[in-house]
Amino acid sequence: MRYYAENENGQADRKSAAKAGAGKIPGARHREREKAMIRDITLGQYYPADSVIHKLDPRVKLAGTMVFIISLFAFRSVSAYVVATLALAAVIHISKVPLKFMMRGLKSILMLLMITVVFNLFLIPGTPVLHLWKLTVTKEGIETAAFMAIRLVYLILGSSVMTLTTTPNNLTDGLEKALRPLGKIHVPVHEISMIMSIALRFIPILLDETDKIMKAQMARGADFESGNLIQKAKNMVPLLVPLFISAFRRANDLAMAMEARGYHGGEGRTKMKPLVYASRDKAAYAVMAGYLIVMFAASRIMIFGF
């Protein structure tokens, strides 16, 4: 009897859920997408997951990304690209970040990609393959276009792996430590990385603040959408003035809080969580070296005469 009752409840729930789905409000999704777009622009696109790649030292990931990008441009052959593809696929698989999130970065270079492919396809002289009206597609053109496209896509995917698996703070930490030798030639490495991490930290805060102030002014009947360019710029005043004031207030508070905790620049500053290489980081470096060797070897092997 009890089982029956529960079952009935479950069914009712499912029904109401289905109904809720059917009654979706058209604008809601669109707005969500707009918000997601703002998030795409920022560097804070960290995707939390529990994977070895996430746990790696940020310096390793920086170096790995560099190695991968350099290898894409240094070796040009089908077999080398097969190796690169396998390596990239393996890393993406290990990182546990859904491919969907990786692909998101590609959207922004779609235009660039198209232009590159089209220009390479039609403008490189060589053995003609196809005649289209006044344009000629050459064998060399197809080759170069394909290689360029693959390079660009892999470049974005490779760096996406890094930004998706490393928190912005970790990344600047890694940069600071990796660039420390430059301090010897009076490059203010610590200051630069502090500026970077504060800027990164402030992006989501200011986005939130913008959202809040925008809503508050919309509650007072402000209109941020209609009107011509001058009108629109004028309409931004109720948003920008409070935003600037709040940015200054926050900067002030932050400076005060940093001083209250004894911040005096990078000199002699220690870290609560200093970056120390673990055995997995050393293993990752070994994998990188191995990758380079295999890439080098692969580039010597010719497949189909490429």
């Binding site: 809720a20 009654g23 969500e32 809040k212 002014q217």
Partner: protein, 284 residues
């Protein structure tokens, strides 16, 4: 003439790793002229809920009816709705931007497209209602004290002459005097103008003192919806979700347990005092 919420759901960042179901199947009716308190601990969905009332957030599913009309219908005039349902955000003084207090209060009614005389009449009336002295009208809003700034910001909403006034923690960060002044003024406004007031608050004492109906939010759902007396009877459940009843409710329950012949439903100090006096009289 009321706001009716039906099966409202709201999901933040749908389809990403940060997805959060902020409102789950909310069904409420806010009647005209009521003074309603909304309580709930941080992240319970209070602020999300009230942003739906004037269409700033659009539910993922469900419907909201204002005076019988679905505000999610194609072509519904949201700007008119926003002038009818005035929403005062947390720390509203952060939205001030004009060169002086008076023009800032004029911003709302001006956006409604009213003639200049009407705009100024409304601004003056709103500033009078929040009790700001005339000598401050031409000052920069940034010269004022925290409490004064907040009053100017509330006046900015009142100048649109809304039928429903929604206040999201209007007393956060104010001293006890500033808090009482603001809430007394809101209560007065409710009495004078017969507008519906929705007050979001963390202070059980404030809520118990002013409102006639309490909506308790927990994890995006409505947990209780009743008179303060009834809601605070459930003080043990309230505690389990990180809330509490007013101090006097505890006192009254303790006295009752000690064998006093009193009604433990009192939610304000005045009610409690009366009840205790009556019990003492009976004893004597």
């Amino acid at each position: 003439m009321a706001i009716r919420i039906e099966h409202l759901n709201y999901v933040y960042s749908e389809g990403t790793a940060f997805e959060k179901h902020a409102l789950k199947d909310i069904n409420l009716e806010l009647f005209d002229g009521q003074f309603i308190g909304v309580i709930g601990h941080t992240g319970s969905g209070k602020s999300t809920l009230i942003q739906h009332l004037n269409g700033l957030l659009k539910g993922t599913s469900g419907a909201i009816y204002y005076n019988g009309k679905n505000i999610y219908e194609e072509g519904y005039d949201l700007r008119t709705l926003r002038s009818k349902v005035g929403l005062v955000f947390q720390y509203p003084e952060h939205q001030l931007f004009e060169v002086d207090v008076f023009s800032d209060v004029c911003f709302g009614p001006k956006n409604l497209g009213l003639p200049k005389e009407e705009v100024e009449r409304r601004a003056k009336e709103a500033l009078r209602l929040v009790g700001l002295k005339e000598k401050h009208y031409r000052k920069s809003p940034f010269e004022l004290s925290g409490g004064q700034k907040r009053r100017v910001a509330i006046a900015g909403i009142l100048a649109m002459e809304p039928d429903v006034l929604v206040l999201d923690e209007p007393t956060a960060g104010l001293d006890p005097k500033g808090r009482d002044e603001i809430l007394d003024q809101v209560a007065l406004l409710h009495k004078e103008k017969h507008i519906t007031v929705v007050l979001v608050s963390h202070s059980m004492e404030d809520v118990a003192r002013y409102v006639e109906r309490i909506i308790v939010m927990n994890k995006g759902q409505v947990m209780f919806d009743d008179t303060p007396q009834q809601v605070f009877q459930h003080y043990r459940e309230l505690e389990s979700v990180g809330l509490a009843a007013p101090q006097v409710t505890y006192l009254m329950h303790d006295l009752k347990e000690k064998g006093w012949n009193i009604d433990p439903q009192a939610t304000t100090v005045e009610e409690a005092a009366e009840s205790i006096f009556a019990a003492l009289h009976k004893k004597a």
